[in-house]
């Protein structure tokens, strides 16, 4: 058997092992990607806030006013999507309250109504400087929100620097958010 034939006979085996190796590496990477997808990365990080206007919630009178983001210019501030019907929002309420001692927070009531929202704030406290209403869920889609609660941090230049999906628990607040406020 010539040397050449030997190599050719080895070829399928070599090929098989290289495919196994490559697939293994790919799967290894997928495992890490899956870990990431538990909480999806926001596409808005590093971008300015979406242009869609957010109407302020009306508790008493019918005044149609939009939230003016210019009021928060040159400040780090947070945008928190929440709802009165959302159980994890009750869990995060004390932490959002704590955060509101440091920075202004805009609350956006997702698929909510003024009456229930008012009751929620009475029961769990109102940490918000302004509250907007997203009754159809359209604002949430512009912000890439896939469930409430979600919290965004916006820097002094109006750029979104951080997003947390799910309830803002104390350890997330301490390890992720506080360092960004420096």
């Amino acid at each position: 058997m010539s040397y050449n034939v030997k190599i050719i006979k080895m070829l399928p085996l070599t090929l098989f092992f290289s495919i196994v190796l490559v697939s293994g590496l790919v799967l290894y990477q997928v495992k890490y990607d899956l870990k990431d997808t538990k909480e999806l990365k926001s596409q808005l990080i590093g971008k300015s806030i979406p242009l869609i206007s957010i109407p302020e919630i009306n508790y008493y009178k019918k005044i149609n006013k939009n939230i003016n983001f210019d009021d928060f210019k040159n400040n780090i501030f947070a945008v928190n999507f929440f709802a009165s019907w959302c159980a994890p929002c009750r869990i995060e309420a004390p932490v959002v309250e704590e955060l509101s001692k440091f920075i202004p927070i805009i609350g956006i009531a997702y698929k909510d109504n003024a009456k229930d929202n008012k009751k929620f704030l009475n029961d769990y406290g109102n940490p918000y400087d302004k509250i907007g209403l997203d009754n159809k869920g359209k604002i949430a889609i512009e912000w890439g929100v896939y469930g409430v609660p979600e919290t965004f941090l916006i820097n002094r230049d109006g750029i979104i620097i951080y997003r947390h999906a799910g309830p803002l628990l104390y350890d997330v607040y301490k390890t992720d958010i506080l360092p960004l406020l420096q």
């Binding site: 070829l11 997808t37 596409q43 808005l44 869920g137 359209k138 912000w143 890439g144």
Partner: protein, 115 residues
């Protein structure tokens, strides 16, 4: 699944009501429901899926192309929302591996048959 066969205001002159509904479903089948993760928004009954279906229909009526709609969604939710991963540098292996295997297989076969 109950699809709202509702009132389509035809701004898009080139498509009739049924075509708009079919197109909405076609695109919806390629969009991942981010709440349930392994379903398309066409199959899912979650609130977000419903909202996205309505939004896709609206965009079709407004005359956006399929590509523009997919881009709109992936700009907000990432490529993960597309059930068919796009051809990009980080997915190049995923797309090319079957062809590489096929080509190398053909090569080996050819070598053997020649003997």
């Amino acid at each position: 699944m109950i699809t709202s066969q509702s009132y389509v205001f035809a701004d898009n002159k080139s498509l009739n009501k049924d075509e708009i509904i079919n197109k909405t479903r076609e695109i919806s089948q390629n969009i991942r429901c981010l709440v349930c993760r392994n379903q398309s928004i066409d199959e899912s009954n979650s609130e977000l899926a419903k909202d996205l279906r309505v939004l896709i229909k609206r965009k079709i009526i407004d005359g956006l192309s399929d590509k523009e709609i997919y881009n709109y969604l992936s700009n907000r939710y990432g490529d993960y929302i597309l059930l068919n991963p796009p051809f990009k540098t980080n997915t190049i292996l995923l797309w090319l591996l079957p062809f590489l295997i096929l080509i190398s297989g053909c090569f080996v076969m050819f070598k053997f048959l020649k003997k």
